[in-house]
């Protein structure tokens, strides 16, 4: 049992990053993630790391691009509007196959939106966001403890796959303080040698880190095929989820992040009322744990997708279920969040409709 400390999610993410060896942070202030650059501005110098308050999100992500090309573990963080600005750089970093961590403490949108928690950047995070055929590994922590654990893992997976990883949180889990068990960092994969970094060509041939592929004529086709093979490998190897009371469930809730945390409470409330409800909580949003939903759809009566957005996550759930059972929806954007009681209400109406249908 490690030491327990009380910290906000945003601060825990920073400390986990430092513990995992992150030594470069560049960012720009935006609510609700301001604890991150504030914490890093103090913490990085203590560990001989680098903190830069960038002039923009564009600059921040490109500073991270440079730090990653230099071989150091590095990250940036922002919230929704700032993440939109970073998309250019994320595309380049993915194309150049460099590792880094990007944290999105989501707020309400579109546009400037508001500063309440949201999950409305799901499409942007999971489907690309920037230009070109690329993928970013997307992790969705549901508690402050999980922010600590997944942040550490994120650096390992980024290095292992040479790919950007996004920690997709939200304003609630970022701002919420919970006791967290702090344990020392230990790599969870065999980390490959960084034989691609730019550190001067002493004793070796010069290296180039680039994303422009003009030669041969089909060079970019080949490069994209290589990327797709890597993404396929990631899909096969890294698909994480939590199943909760699904074995006998007539209704399975699909939810991620803070919404899943609330949904778990709704599962207990429903079971007290005699309705057999379970939960599947994707931990990786890309790769999406499709098999878990496909399997559940064979045995459960129906699935209820709950999200703090207007039907983004549900598309992946439906693709996974592929018509095998009905998929209901509960969700809104703009800073709305579900309560346990609201989810229970929806479950009860679904259960009642099913019972009526059975008569």
């Amino acid at each position: 049992m490690g030491k327990k400390i009380l910290l906000k999610g945003n601060e825990v993410m920073c400390e986990a990053a430092v513990q995992a060896g992150c030594r470069f942070f560049a960012g720009y202030p935006i609510t609700p993630q301001n604890e991150v650059p504030e914490y890093m501005s103090k913490r990085m110098p203590q560990v001989d790391g680098v903190f830069v308050q960038a002039e923009s999100e564009l600059a921040a992500i490109n500073m991270v691009f440079g730090a990653s090309a230099s071989g150091v573990r590095c990250m940036t963080s922002s919230s929704s509007p700032g993440i939109s600005l970073k998309q250019e750089g994320i595309s380049y970093i993915a194309g150049a196959e460099l590792p880094c961590l990007i944290a999105n403490v989501q707020r309400g949108g579109p546009g400037l939106g508001n500063i309440r928690a949201s999950q409305a950047d799901y499409f942007q995070a999971v489907k690309g966001g920037g230009h070109g055929d690329y993928r970013v590994i997307v992790l969705a922590p549901a508690s402050v403890q999980e922010i600590y654990n997944l942040t550490m893992n994120a650096f390992d997976w980024a290095d292992y796959y040479r790919n950007p990883v996004m920690l997709l949180g939200d304003g609630i889990s970022g701002q919420m303080a919970e006791p967290v068990e702090i344990f020392p960092y230990k790599p969870i994969v065999d980390l490959p040698a960084k034989d691609y970094i730019l550190d001067g060509c002493a004793g070796r041939k010069p290296r180039v880190v680039k994303t422009l592929v003009l030669k041969p004529t089909d060079g970019l086709v080949t490069h994209n095929e290589h990327l797709q093979e890597k993404y396929k490998r990631i899909e096969n190897e890294l698909s994480l989820y939590e199943e909760y009371q699904t074995a006998d469930a007539d209704i399975v809730i699909a939810a991620y992040g803070i919404t899943a945390r609330i949904a778990k409470g709704a599962v207990s409330l429903a079971r007290k009322k005699g309705i057999a409800v379970g939960l599947i909580r994707p931990i990786t949003l890309w790769p999406f744990p499709s098999d878990a939903f496909a399997t559940a759809a064979q045995t459960t009566g129906q699935i209820l997708t709950v999200e703090m957005s207007h039907g983004q996550f549900i598309e992946d759930v439906k693709l996974a279920v592929n018509g095998a059972c009905p998929v209901e929806f509960l969700g809104k954007g703009g800073g709305w969040y579900p309560t346990e009681e609201l989810i229970l209400e929806k479950i009860e109406s679904m259960a009642a409709a099913t019972a009526k249908g059975n008569l």
Binding site: V52, A59, A60, S70, Y92, L198, D199, A202
Partner: protein
Amino acid sequence: MPTLKRTEVLTDVRTHYCPGCGHGIAHRLVAEVIEELGIRERTIAIAPVGCAVLMYDYFNCDMTECAHGRPPAMATGIKRVQPDKIVFTYQGDGDLAAIGTAETIHAANRGENITVIFINNAIYGMTGGQMAPTTLTGMRSTTSQDGRGKHGEGPPLKVCELLRSLDGVCYLERTAVSTPKDVNAAKRAIKKAFQNQIDGKGFSLVEVLSMCPTDWKLSTAQSVDFVNNEMKEAFPLGVYKDKG
């Protein structure tokens, strides 16, 4: 007579640059300086988006290429992590003074200990001759067909004059590669800009007025005259800042 020889800092590759283009001379000057300072094996160069994007094929040192206008940000990341390395960006006018203006100004103002080589040919070369931030007043381009200034384009942006006011900047000099004398002066300036970085003095930028016969729609000889007569008038050569 000095004998001419290849510099080990350039690869034995034919460049894609047009006849009469100034990039070849500027590349050669940067490469000679790197060789003379003995820093090839600790140099990391950043190519822009623009005609010089392919310079990673020509320079025999570690290289990267990043998004349009972002080289000073990427250079910041590289140099802060590896302060013992020599980091330089090589950027055109669109890259440095239009889409990357914010990155340029803030890297300069932070006093990043990097070297910036700024090629100003007053035109977008790679995309085919559109108006640059440094296109001269009255000069025609494919997007200022009546001459710059007729339709609200504003005057050319003067980078050395703009950056001179920033306390973080160590060294600014505007040079040209249109006469042998200018080429020699440009090399001295580039060498100083690299030496400043070696000595830890901070942000140094050398602007190089350069020819673009293809997109200016002039002969190579006329292009040299254009730099000497028109560009040097709009962009006076000289040292704009030297903290010493």
